[in-house]
């Protein structure tokens, strides 16, 4: 193991005034950040006091149990949900590529993959071919979108996101519709894309296990930020354990084989003063 022991500190106030949560984010201006974000949906508080940021070139993973507000946070970052309190800020002119969890096109709409990709902005056929190549689905160009498997659709959605030359990629549970083998391939693709385009990635996942090795920072969510930091540190964090139970312990063992070097000064941070996880 090459990493130092995690240093840990807790905030006196749950919402720091700076846009970036301290202790774990790389330096530089973030692409997008939230300040003390709260979201109420149908009278229910889904998110409260979330402060987070995504910087250029880093992969930030949102993790948490079902109903923890991961997708809600992603949608707020995308501007699809209005905050009931707090703010979502973006770099002016930020180009965002969104890859939704799933997308079903009505069977009555005749639509090939190529045509689907051309709907979102004026693009040349060459650009579409390029994006299809990068997502590894050139062979699907003329297939009807309704005939795609879950994994194929994910790749096409990735290609679609790339067409906008994104500075920030938002991926909502890309591993959901895909089997284990497909997941590994998909994440390898995403990693390639991130390197080539140097874009920031906000990744929603219900399973830290699968995204661990490809994540720079993890935000553990359960209606609010439970803890955040490097993946290997979060996986040892007591609040993470409380949230994920035995599965988390297994993950910690698994991690010994998959650890990789990071800045030694990044640690793991609690989001609140111990008011976090339900029992």
């Amino acid at each position: 193991m090459s990493t130092t022991h995690p240093h840990r500190h807790t905030h006196a106030t749950p919402a720091p005034a700076t846009p970036t949560p301290t202790g774990s984010a790389p330096p530089g201006d973030p692409l997008v950040w939230t300040e003390n974000l709260s979201v109420r949906l149908g009278g229910r508080v889904v998110l409260s006091g979330v402060t987070m940021a995504v910087h250029p070139g880093e992969v930030v993973t949102l993790i948490g149990p079902n109903g923890a507000g991961k997708t809600t946070l992603a949608r707020a970052v995308l501007g699809l949900i209005r905050p009931s309190d707090g703010r979502v800020q973006r770099r002016p002119g930020l180009r965002v590529g969104y890859m939704p969890q799933r997308l079903t096109v009505d069977a009555t709409l005749p639509l090939t993959v190529r045509r689907f990709l051309a709907l979102w902005r004026p693009v040349t056929p060459e650009r579409i071919t390029e994006a299809l190549e990068e997502a590894g689905v050139t062979r699907l160009a003329d297939a009807a979108v309704q005939t795609l498997s879950g994994g194929e659709m994910q790749r096409v959605l990735l290609a679609r996101a790339l067409l906008g030359d994104p500075q920030l990629l938002v991926l909502d549970e890309p591993d959901q519709a895909v089997d284990v083998h497909g997941q590994a391939e998909l994440f390898a693709r995403i990693e390639q894309v991130r390197r080539r385009h140097r874009c920031g990635v906000l990744l929603v996942s219900h399973d830290l296990h699968t995204v661990m090795a490809r994540t720079d920072r993890v935000i553990c969510l359960n209606g609010h930020v439970c803890c955040h930091g490097r993946p290997e540190d979060v996986s040892r964090h007591p609040e993470y354990h409380a949230l994920f139970g035995r599965h988390a312990a297994e993950l910690a063992v698994y991690l010994h084989h998959h650890d990789h070097a990071h800045d030694p000064d990044r640690g793991v941070v609690s989001g609140h003063d111990g008011d976090c996880c339900h029992g």
Binding site: L80, P100, T108, P110, W120, R121, R160
Partner: protein
Amino acid sequence: MDEFLIRALAAGCGIALLAGPLGSFIVWRRMAYFGDTLSHSALLGVTLGFLLGVNPMIGVMVVCVALALALVALQRRRTLAADTLLGILSHGSLSLGLVALAFLETLRVDLMAYLFGDILSVTINDLVWIYSGGAVALTGLALLWRRLLAVTVDEDLARVEGMPVDALRLAFMLLIAMVIAIAMKIVGILLITSLLIIPAASARRFTRTPEQMAALASVFGVAAVVAGLLASLAWDLPGGPSVVVAAASLFLAGSLLPMRG
């Protein structure tokens, strides 16, 4: 050929051309019942037009748009399912139109013509309305085509890409309202939706792109108009219903053919 028949054919074909692409969108967006609801409210618009002394078509458009907005507002509350709301508005507005018409005792309106259309009584003035209004509606649809398709495929994606989703939806409703106003006198408010959705549904099996489907829907629509009108003339049948029967027959015949792509 008689002049009234030529006028009827010209009117019917104009509406069929317009109904192809717009009807395709109604099918893609699963808005058939919505279209039906809007057209049922048209009678109220006619009455309003007479009351205010403006062209009934203007009255129809105003009422259609008002109804569409009311529907959007009611749907936001999410207390009732969309089809229930549509059922209430559809029959409520149709009945309100019938009641309001009954109050205008001085007005002699051929109710049957409004309900089922009177394609054989088309005037030159009607033709001008159909073709000028149709040209405006088609131009609008062509300008919004790509973005409307995007919104139809996925509203969230369209929103993230910065498209004005709500404005596009409203614009689409406005286009439907225009078609209803234009087509009402020809096929009647009870049958307008069928001319929108049947040719589009027939075209689906034979096409691989949205544009192909829209174009083929127009072709099928024109065929149904011609066949229906000739049949109506040959056997002295009601015009509007004959056209719809022809369209439905085309659909049936098409679904028996082997599928391409």
